[in-house]
């Protein structure tokens, strides 16, 4: 695109907001870059203006028009509680915050594009669901966790907003959970446990997005947004048992009626709080989405497919383990090498 762009990233203190800012800073075509959040970003940024504001309040409506932004990227949707954002305010941050942001967008006359980093949790997690959801299939299955309902609610507001402002390009990105050795997230912490509890008899199909692809897709969507929802996921899928074998994590199957309370307890220790995301159900039934729209319309081809993302994660996080591997694959492998 030839025109210089003025980009405002809401939720710059989140990992994804900060990473996006870092990538956009390197691009001379971006004239102006600003970030909104209540706390400073985790990494050092060169030329990003930091605007301290809480998106739950109306203050953004006064600040945003002044930036003359043409692109707003919303990275402020939270999957899990954070140290300064306990579980009880997540609904406010996610739903009310998005509403306030949209109100601010409405007053920004220079605006052309709005990109929201949402979640594939809107599809729900059920056993008998289609193996690959396409974008039209939202809202067909019951939503069972607070997070799923919050995502569904804010997507409803976003759709309304898009309908009332047909001249704007409104793009909703539906992310599958991310994976990466450097990510500090409950799911990654769960997969890094020395012994990973699983649900007896269930082996969910998962799509875990490589952290590089998660940022790459966000950047691609910021540069070339399309109208409507877009699934962001790796190609293919991987089952949890296969994943744990590749990552050399022994698993501990627990009958699933007991798993809820056990995981809730574990989840609090891992930082997921009283399971707000779709964790337990995701780890029972899994979820697959179709990423064709991302590849053809936004034009971003994920570098890692579902298996490659896990292999990369396993290769890079291996050094973290303390002591010898107790995984049966390694034990038998040692025996086989001895025998061979």
């Amino acid at each position: 695109m030839a025109i210089g762009r003025r980009v405002v990233i809401v939720g710059i203190a989140s990992h994804w907001g900060a990473e996006l800012a870092r990538r956009l800073e390197r691009d001379p075509a971006v004239d102006y870059l600003a970030g909104v959040d209540t706390v400073p970003p985790p990494i050092e940024l060169q030329r990003t203006d930091l605007i301290e504001a809480d998106i739950r309040g109306p203050v953004l409506s006064r600040l945003l028009p002044g930036t003359n932004a043409d692109t707003v990227v919303h990275c402020g949707i939270l999957w899990y509680p954070e140290p300064d954002k306990p579980a009880r305010i997540l609904h406010d941050v996610n739903v009310i915050g998005t509403l306030q942001l949209l109100a601010a967008c409405q007053r920004t006359e220079t605006l052309e594009r709005v990109v929201v980093r949402g979640s594939a949790a809107i599809y729900g997690c059920e056993g008998p669901s289609p193996s690959f959801f396409t974008e039209q299939m939202a809202g067909r299955l019951p939503l069972r966790t607070r997070f799923q309902r919050d995502i569904s609610e804010l997507e409803g507001y976003f759709e309304n907003f898009a309908r009332r402002h047909p001249h704007l390009v409104c793009c909703m990105l539906r992310y599958q959970p991310e994976i990466g050795p450097d990510l500090d997230m409950p799911l990654v912490r769960y997969l890094s446990l020395p012994v990973v509890p699983t649900q007896l008899g269930f082996d969910p199909r998962l799509q875990l997005l490589h952290a590089d692809d998660a940022t790459g897709a966000l950047e691609a969507a910021t540069r070339n947004p399309v109208c409507g929802a877009v699934n962001v996921a790796p190609s293919g899928s991987i089952s949890l048992s296969h994943l744990l074998r590749l990552a050399r994590r022994p698993s501990l199957p627990i009958p699933h009626p007991l798993f809820g309370p056990a995981l809730e307890r574990l989840g609090r220790q891992l930082g997921a709080g009283p399971v707000y995301g779709d964790g337990v159900r995701l780890l029972r039934f899994g979820r697959g989405v179709d990423n064709q729209r991302l590849r053809t319309e936004i034009g971003y081809e994920p570098r890692f497919d579902a298996v490659a993302a896990v292999r990369d994660f396993a290769a890079k996080s291996r050094g973290r383990r303390v002591g010898p591997s107790l995984h049966p694959g390694d034990l038998v492998g040692r025996l086989a090498r001895v025998g061979g």
């Binding site: 899928s237 089952s239 074998r245 990552a247 697959g288 694959g329 025996l335 001895v338 025998g339």
Partner: protein, 322 residues
Amino acid sequence: MSAEPQTDAPKAPNAEVLADFLRRMRLGIEDGLDPKSAAQRAALDLPKSLRDAVERLSQRLRGEYDEDEWGFDEQFAEAVYPLFEFLYDTWWRVEADGVRHVPAHGRALLVANHAGSLFPFDASMILGAIMKEHPLPRWARFLVLDWAFVLPFLSTFMRRVGGVPASPHNATRLLQQDELVMAFPEGAKGTGKQFSERYRLQRFGRGGFVEVALRAGAPIIPVAVVGAEEIYPKLADAKPLARAIGAPFVPITPTFPWLGPLGLIPLPSRWRIEFCEPIELSRYGPDAADDQRLLFDVSEQVRETIQEKLYENLVKRGSTFL
């Protein structure tokens, strides 16, 4: 995708080999080696087949195997195949006709009648017929009643051997990937019918399977299965229990639940499977999928073909169990 039979199947490690290994290890320790080196030396004398088996197991445990995007695990399917082979050859003595109608490659939709109240084994036996009788065997995928995917173990097993939740999206996507897909349009109405209703085809849904075939440009191959009705004759339905656990039905058979787990053993009826002439739909084009009348016409044609072949094969089979 074809299954290559494992030629050098490893023999089970028997007690003799193990004793031999331990004896050599003891000798090593007596020679003053530490346990690790002793084990190393003893392992060198193990038979090659055993070492290969350990190597394969190790690869499996280290995750060095492939699952496709649907969760189909060919290695796993090959491992459980002998069980189905036993059921096919010995237990149900299946005879299959017309397997040549199944294309060796490319997409096709197999449409069959559905029966066998407790566990509908018909999908696995159709699969067995293709694997055993077809000159170029290939794995087929099958659409599984939704409820099975809520259950532990069963859901995982089904997925690994090629089952996918019954959804038109899944069927269309699979066909577009040039897979062989099995569908049972009767669904739970077919498996849940009383024994007295056997071999009477139920309603074929709303013709959704024809819509899928039209959209994907796949031929429909009607398949008639005789024998599955008698494996668990459903005499009554425990409706309150079914409601309580959310199942479509809970059958009461002459053996289940009276004999406990033994009641899960299917009766050894004789089976016949006939694959009929493919019905080519490519001339209609994908837009015809919106033509409800055409859907009903083709659906009815398939249903009549299967019903006719069912009666024919019932006569050919003769005695039910002997």
